[in-house]
């Protein structure tokens, strides 16, 4: 709580912190340490120190603005305390009305991407065309080249916006595939158990 005085001190790190603070206010997408270092014309280590300093100042409960590490960079957002007021004034159109089909498709693209629409259809058992188009329109997934093996089908990957909307530092923050259920052996045992019960 006694940090504000430090930010206006003559300490060189404080000066960098003020520059970084300014950059993050102007940016509307997360900036990486490298981006900030190039813009501030300073070395990455000092930027990281400055970010730590800003993190202490802009934390939940301390400020209406919160500094967070998200989507491979650093960004400001409104504090949770201000969420109710924000909700009265602003919408969250990107994630509004995401269907279960869209969530499954997002999960497939996040884990197996870049992947094609036929890849998604193969796993979900339902054509993915309209769902994929909807996710592209929302900016949660984007084209990522073509698959030479699958007759040039367009491949898709998740975007930094996806990570930001879901509050992920990066895709590595998703649960590991092994930790999710669905062991083939267990499923097979269940299939066989059902088959055995069936009268011959």
């Amino acid at each position: 709580m006694d940090r504000p005085l430090r930010l206006i001190s003559a300490n060189p790190v404080d000066r960098v912190a003020r520059v970084v603070e300014g950059l993050l206010v102007v940016a509307s997408q997360p900036l990486s340490v490298e981006d900030l270092a190039v813009a501030a014309n300073d070395d990455p280590e000092r930027i990281e120190t400055a970010l730590r300093l800003l993190g202490e100042r802009y934390g939940e409960g301390r400020s209406g603005i919160v500094l967070e590490q998200v989507a491979g960079g650093w960004a400001f957002r409104a504090s949770r305390e201000a969420a109710e007021a924000c909700a009265r004034l602003f919408e969250r159109p990107v994630e509004r009305g995401l269907s279960a089909a869209a969530m499954e498709t997002l999960a497939i693209v996040a884990y197996f991407g870049p992947c094609t629409r036929p890849d998604v259809a193969r796993i979900r058992g339902v054509a993915a065309d309209s769902v994929v188009a909807g996710l592209v329109e929302r900016g949660l997934i984007a084209e990522a080249g073509r698959d030479a093996e699958a007759a040039g089908a367009i491949r898709y990957r998740t975007t930094p916006l996806f990570e930001r909307v879901f509050g992920l530092e990066s895709l590595a923050a998703l649960p590991r595939l092994d930790d999710l259920g669905g062991e083939p052996d267990e499923i097979r045992a269940r299939l066989e158990a059902v088959a055995e019960k069936r009268p011959a």
Partner: protein, 253 residues
């Protein structure tokens, strides 16, 4: 219970089961978009409402749903049909289990994402591109230029270009009248001649003019033309007075 009258309310379709089947068979509804599991759930709900097991309806429903599933599978994986049909039963079971496992994992991942999104509903942030983002971290696209070079380039553009010669566009060919005279003179000596042998040795343009002259003669009724087949030699015959009269009579009639 009549299976075909089962009312459905799906994402891709709303109405009786019978109509859904008709639309699918007429290719007016993409079966790949239809969630068959929801149809099964709707049927189970209906069964439960009735409170007794209708075996006839169940049998009919199973047959219809199995057919729908097969059609849908064929539509979704046309290229895999052959590949999978070659699998041994043991391998096919393994493949099925693997795919079901993948799907179950993705369902769980989707549930995790939904939960995460619900937890993040209080996070508000600004969206959209930052002002001039990227201009500082990308190399300039144009190398530095000197004003003198720009001036020299403009001076080049300001000079009047040399006038273009259109000489090469003029086609040099003899007048049609020259060939008209030549053919008339020929027909005075002979009753008939072969067009190809007359134009032999002439340039392509000259041959074309000769052809025009021949058509002129035909138009004036001075000659008649015969050709045995396409691209065969054209025979030009002097029209007789009698022939011309007959032609005139035919036209008048």
């Amino acid at each position: 219970m009549i299976v075909r009258e089962l009312e459905l309310d799906l994402d891709a379709f709303e109405g009786p089961f019978d109509l859904l089947l008709t639309l699918v068979l007429r290719d007016e509804l993409e079966l790949a978009e239809v969630d068959v599991a929801e149809i099964v759930l709707a049927f189970c709900d209906r069964l439960e409402e009735r409170g007794r097991l209708d075996l006839d309806a169940c049998g009919e429903f199973l047959v219809l749903v199995a057919a729908l599933l097969e059609l849908k599978a064929r539509g979704l994986f046309p290229e895999e049909e052959l590949e999978l049909s070659e699998l041994e039963p043991e391998e096919a079971a393994e493949e099925l289990a693997r795919r079901l496992a993948d799907y179950r994992r993705m369902k769980e991942a989707a549930a995790w994402l939904s939960e995460r999104l619900a937890g993040e509903s209080e996070r508000f942030f600004r969206l959209g591109p930052a002002p001039s983002y990227g201009s500082w971290n990308q190399p300039p696209k144009i190398a530095p230029q000197s004003p003198e070079r720009l001036g020299a380039a403009l001076r080049l553009l300001a000079t009047e270009p040399p006038s273009l010669s259109l000489g090469h566009m003029a086609l040099r060919f003899p007048p049609v009248s020259q060939f008209l005279e030549r053919f008339r003179a020929l027909l005075r000596r002979r009753r008939r001649f072969d067009f190809e042998s007359e134009v032999e040795g002439l340039s392509r343009v000259e041959a074309a003019v000769a052809f025009l002259a021949m058509l002129e003669l035909r138009k004036a009724g001075e000659v008649s033309l015969e050709q045995a087949a396409s691209f065969a030699s054209i025979r030009v015959t002097r029209a007789s007075v009698e022939g011309r009269e007959q032609e005139w009579i035919a036209r008048s009639a």
